[in-house]
Symmetry: C2
Subunit: 519 residues, 2 copies
């Protein structure tokens, strides 16, 4: 092969489009038809029984369970999960016995201060502690020992992650109390086992094994990696990629984060992914977190990202004192879905009103002006066939067609309302006191503030679909991280910048304060 | 420097005698005089309060506590430990409230099978699970959250190990129930955090950093490493050294094991440490574990060695199929101490008897013939000045002087009784149903059997002092490991080889079966 041929082949290789997901997402979807050679579910339950009923389960039984469970189809797996949750539940009869004993001892607790009684008191105190320990033990479900032993087994943590992913899927369809209790217990244990103390931070570079890099490509959930050039770029000058690894799952990160070192906080993902040439690292003053992906669906709800971010910020501060700004450029995954739902409900409400005449007055309890009068007019003007529709109907049509991005006129008309509504969605819309948007909630609970929203920041199909192309910068102000995290977790208060407040104040004017009349 | 000079310097360096313990044993002994600039104990308790009373303790408070605690003297540390155990104990009032609620719900548990009631039943079941979770939470001492948060903090695991080492020392003097409960709780958590899933097995070689090798030298607890040649030998051809590492304590193993690959199971430590040239690895058929050392006194009672041994055996089996024998050459740390105590009590008993005349008959309940008649005669014959003493008195004198090793005559006379008594000590003497000797108990609970005891196997001063120079081979028979571990843990049964049984049968003959007479 000539030198020229080699570089040509290399160029082809580097540019070759990658499969969006060359590795099957873990856990591998269980085959719907069971392998005829696979052990039947009865055999897996046998191994479960052998493992879960022993004081210290034999490693061989645990391995047989693991192999058997993985080979089961969806129906079989669910049968095993139900058995685990119900047959190895809390031993209630024992709990009740111990409770009665405890109540009698605890109520007889001596309260005097006599020296003569000191020894008897110490004996009573010892008995109390012993009973509390016994009670704590008895209140553990019987599957606790099985889960602990499985975690200690090589490959066991991965199996438990698979098991929990199956359990979460099952809970989506069948929200039984025993299954929910199993999920909560397993999650609690996973939080302990995956404590940041047990995780290793590793900077992933182009020097890492292909088997690891392949996983980064497969698991990148935010901005898909298009080809090897794209991957190399994300690991090269002005870029960092850090992963959190656990000894029991070697060779693949549980979660990883991608960072760009830039002069300023970027306002679009295009300038992050394709800035050419990259900013010299010595000139960088902003570390921009532009992607964070977790790899194990079974670890859902376990906040590994919080500690990862913290450690990465600490490391960058130490290594690059010139970097002063720590911010993200984040997607807003729930914005469009929320807005379209809002539009649909308001349109329905309007229709109901016009059918009933105006008997409820100009504005019912649930009605709100989504669009400001100015915004409504601009949308009308930009639309070619308004067909006498209201502004919100036109907006719904436009957003659903997704063609508006290609029209300068429509884009210009949508910019103001979408930016304003996006600010409101991020900073005001809540669910159980927390930000409705999952990514917003993640960064806010970690102590960030909402700094800026950016128009046409992600023009990919996914970006337009999720958030009308808008992206948001969350800012981690080092001096406020702990304070913001605390106020958000205790009161749900969301810190945001003045630039965001401007949108929010306009929003307030737009709310419908018309009094409500009942006939 | 000439080439000759360099090699001479190198030779000097390599032969230089190492300090037995160049690194202070962890945890560093707290200074007895507090640093005048150190925060007083009140300040540390302040940080403890700030950390232990918050729902999610601030990292800064945890760090301040760590720094403050380390700077305290022994008295201060103990005050903090007492405060932790008592002031952040189980919230008993809350437990009692929850217990009462639970009892009323649990006793009202519906038992019918009616479909109409299904929804109500599901609600009741949910409530029951919720209360059980609440109760489990309430039964956790209030310091539980503090310990969890500390473990998640960089350097926190190490601090907790220091804290537990201090606690164990305190418990030795002041066995208060609250302190014991704290120790049990912390130990339970450490077992979870140090699950084998969180540990990495690493083969330590001469290519490892000096900072790591230095720790191997410092922590080697069984056969001190004399110089760099000795160290290099233990990491070279025919040798393996494996350590278990935790991500939170980088650069030093929690425990490590040294292995020699030999033709046969060695009968003395000399041939292991100084076989020259080493057996070619291709000819090895025995993997001999000759040293296992743990490095953190605060992790006492957490059986890391069991999993380490298991993983090392698995790895060696895979890499070296010609190795079929997995055995140890182990010290018998408690033998001499036990024997001298036995001799002292029997001598006292004899004296008491001779003072009272023979009123209790030839043999009281507690009297036993330690020496067989033959053995007694041989010891008499070998002693120059018997002074009319009994065999056991002579044996006591001889063992105490420790000069017998240098005399062939005395050594020959002692061999039979010491080997026989050693076999009895290992295989018969128990404490709470487990082998009295700590090393024996360790290997037996891991599933080993007692294969052979070896005369003059460790002629070092320490070896003579601990066990009269006798060492023992424990054998791990792969096909029996789980079975043996199970029978030992459930019934205390100790498996031993026929060669050991021979000693034990002779011992039985020697026991005193004379009936007891009371006046």
């Amino acid at each position: 092969m000539t030198r020229q041929n080699i570089s040509k082949s290399l160029a082809v290789l580097l540019r070759a489009r990658m499969q969006p997901n060359p590795i099957p997402s873990p856990p591998p979807p269980p085959p719907t038809d069971p392998d005829p050679a696979a052990p039947p579910v009865a055999l897996v339950r046998h191994w479960l029984h052998a493992s879960a009923s022993a004081a210290s389960p034999a490693p061989a039984a645990l391995d047989s369970f693991s192999d058997g469970y993985r080979s089961l189809d969806l129906v079989g797996r669910r049968e095993v999960l139900r058995s685990l949750a119900i047959d190895y539940d809390v031993p209630r009869a024992r709990v009740r016995d111990l409770l009665r004993q405890y109540m009698s001892v605890a109520s007889a607790e001596p309260s005097g201060g006599d020296d003569v009684e000191a020894e008897g008191k110490e004996g009573a105190a010892s008995a109390l502690y012993r009973m509390e320990r016994g009670l704590r033990d008895a209140l553990r479900p019987r599957y606790a020992g099985f889960l602990e032993a499985m975690n200690a087994q090589p490959g066991g943590l991965k199996l438990l992650a698979v098991l929990r992913a199956d359990l979460l899927a099952l809970l989506g369809e069948e929200n039984a109390p025993a299954l929910r209790a199993l999920d909560l217990y397993l999650k609690e244990k996973l939080v302990t086992w995956l404590s940041p103390a047990a995780l290793t931070l590793h900077q992933i570079t182009w020097d890492d094994p292909a088997s690891l890099l392949e996983k980064i490509v497969a698991y990148e959930a935010v901005h898909p990696i298009r080809n090897l050039i794209d991957l190399k770029r994300r690991l090269g000058i002005g870029r960092r990629c850090f992963g959190y690894f656990h000894p029991a799952i070697p060779g693949e990160p549980l979660i990883f984060i991608e960072v760009a070192l830039l002069k300023d906080m970027a306002a679009s993902i295009q300038e992050v992914l394709w800035d050419d040439p990259p900013t010299p690292e010595s000139e960088a003053s902003c570390a921009l977190f532009y992607s964070i992906s977790s790899t194990q669906p079974g670890l859902s709800g376990i906040n590994l990202g919080k500690f990862l971010l913290k450690r990465v910020i600490d490391m960058l501060r130490r290594d690059m004192p010139s970097v002063q700004i720590f911010a993200t450029l984040s997607p807003i995954p729930g914005f469009m879905q929320w807005l379209l739902a809002k539009l649909a409900s308001q349109i329905k409400l309007s229709e109901a009103e016009s059918q009933e005449g105006n008997s409820l007055g100009a504005c019912s309890t649930f009605k709100e002006s989504i669009l400001l009068p100015d915004e409504e007019r601009m949308i009308h003007d930009a639309t070619e066939q308004a067909d006498g529709k209201q502004g919100i109907e036109l907006l719904q049509d436009i957003l659903k067609s997704r063609q508006w991005v290609k029209s300068d006129k429509l884009s210009a008309a949508l910019k103001r309302p979408l930016m304003r509504l996006c600010a409101r969605y991020l900073a005001r819309e809540k669910k159980r006191g927390k930000a409705l948007d999952a990514v917003a909630n993640f960064h806010l609970q970690n102590g960030a503030m909402i700094e800026r929203i950016n128009w046409m920041a992600d023009q990919s199909e996914k970006g337009i679909h999720q958030s009308g192309g808008i992206m948001v910068n969350y800012l981690y102000r080092l001096e406020n991280i702990e304070e913001y995290a605390l106020s958000y977790s205790s009161t749900g208060f969301i810190h945001s910048s003045p630039s965001l407040s401007e949108y929010l104040e306009v929003s307030n004017i737009g709310l419908c304060f018309t009094p409500i009349y009942f006939d």
